[in-house]
């Protein structure tokens, strides 16, 4: 995958997934995002570096947070943004994906932000798109959601500084979660001391241990002494068959409550990629509590997305 993500000099050209990216590059993304934070603090919340560039949000799957933060990030970099909601466009009239790409290319765009329910969609588009266009994966099926992972890393670094001593737990629906997958790659590359996945057997993929994670089926055991808790949303829309008895029962065994939180490190932070299902995977008191950094994740998402856009479009040096 790196063959397509990086240019000859090792700079980001597309951002499809975390898998295989070097630690130095992940750190560079985090550092660049830090410098973009100040843009949001100015009276005019803009920097002109992508002025004149056209960015298309190509969303084949519904999204609010990711799409709006990508849109805001594009606008803060002074790019022009088009939102393509595929349900309402010509794919419902029978146009195929390649034809659609050719049409969008003809509009002289510079970047597509792609969300699709099929794994590999962003990669496929990167392979077939004109060479001057960058692709950013905003979530493809159960594969990856790399900007979410990077904003999670940013939030962790902001609160904990160093990754090396940390114990991190990913909790919930690991099976259907692209966020979990990208986070596992990112946390392993950045080198946390211990990475755990916690959830019912039916929602943890078989053989996940080969990624260097420890599996726990009991929530309290899994959260003992952890520094960072990343809760995952129960992805009912992706579940086929009876993986869970009921949301109520799930909360009973795997819902994060204040009571359960006591087993974690006293300074532990609670994260969630959103949208949160209150009373299913997390109790409101925890989601709104002082250990929760869920809204900071949203703000940091803008800076991370600005960084990734500037870095990918910045590699397109004039070759003519």
């Amino acid at each position: 995958m790196n063959a397509i993500q990086l240019d000859k000099e090792g700079h980001l050209k597309h951002f499809i997934g975390i898998e295989g990216l070097k630690r130095a590059l992940l750190i560079e993304i985090l550092d660049t995002a830090t410098s973009f934070i100040s843009v949001g603090e100015k009276a005019v919340k803009k920097a002109p570096i992508l002025r004149g560039k056209t960015i298309i949000n190509l969303f084949f799957e519904p999204s609010t947070r990711t799409r709006t933060t990508f849109e805001l990030a594009s606008k803060r970099l002074s790019a022009d943004v088009l939102n393509f909601n595929i349900n309402t466009s010509s794919s419902s009239k029978g146009e195929n994906l390649i034809d659609m790409l050719r049409n969008l290319e003809a509009m002289h765009c510079d970047m597509f932000i792609v969300r699709h329910n099929a794994a590999g969609a962003a990669h496929f588009i990167a392979q077939h798109v004109a060479p001057n266009i960058s692709i950013i994966n905003a979530g493809d099926g159960q594969h990856e959601h790399p900007t979410q992972a990077m904003l999670d890393m940013y939030t962790i670094r902001q609160h904990k500084g160093d990754f090396a001593p940390l114990r991190v737990a990913l909790v919930g629906d690991i099976q259907h979660s692209r966020v979990a997958r990208s986070n596992i790659y990112a946390l392993q590359t950045l080198g946390v001391s211990e990475l755990r996945v916690v959830g019912p057997k039916t929602l943890i993929p078989k053989g996940i241990e080969k990624f260097g994670v420890k599996v726990f089926n009991d929530l309290k055991t899994g959260l003992r002494d952890v520094d960072v808790i990343i809760m995952l949303r129960l992805q009912r829309e992706r579940m086929r068959g009876a993986l869970l008895p009921s949301a109520h029962e799930y909360f009973h065994y795997y819902g994060l409550t204040q009571e359960v939180l006591k087993v974690a490190h006293p300074e532990a932070i609670v994260m969630h990629p959103g949208p949160i299902n209150r009373g299913v995977e997390i109790e409101s008191k925890v989601a709104d509590g002082k250990r929760s950094v869920i809204l900071e994740q949203v703000s940091n998402g803008i800076a991370i997305r600005m960084a990734v856009m500037a870095m990918t479009l910045g590699t397109q040096r004039e070759t003519y």
Partner: protein
Amino acid sequence: MSINQIDMLLNSMASYLKNKLKFQQRDAVLMIGIHTGGVWVAERLHAMLELSEPLGQLNIAFYRDDFSRIGLHPHVKPSSLPFEVDNRHIILVDDVLHTGRTIRAALNEIFDYGRPASVTLAVLVERNGRELPIQPDVIGCSLCLDSGKQIKLCGPEPLYLDYKNTR
């Protein structure tokens, strides 16, 4: 140019600025240095003028006009202006004034923070090769160099000027 000479230039800039501010009856001025060399010069001037407000730092990487050609510098330190710039008199400080493009970018960034009452430009070295109609108000020294020559301030301790050929 030796270290002592840099100190001399800084001294003369500080006393010129002091008189100028007195004449203009501007006491509560703000000072902003441009990364990296401009910040070093600004730190010295800020101390010599005993300014009460903290020093601002500007990183113009996001405002450069050659982004599409050279891309983003990987280690951009964020700008920090720990004050409101609206209706304030600002002294903008850089190490070398050459094409004027850096100052153009810096002015654009300052105006994204607010509308200052005035901006005065102070540079340690002013050299030939301007590509924009931008001129300094306070100068340490003026140099006439071949177009292939580059001059750069190195530091922060000690400060010295480094020349190199780009051709």
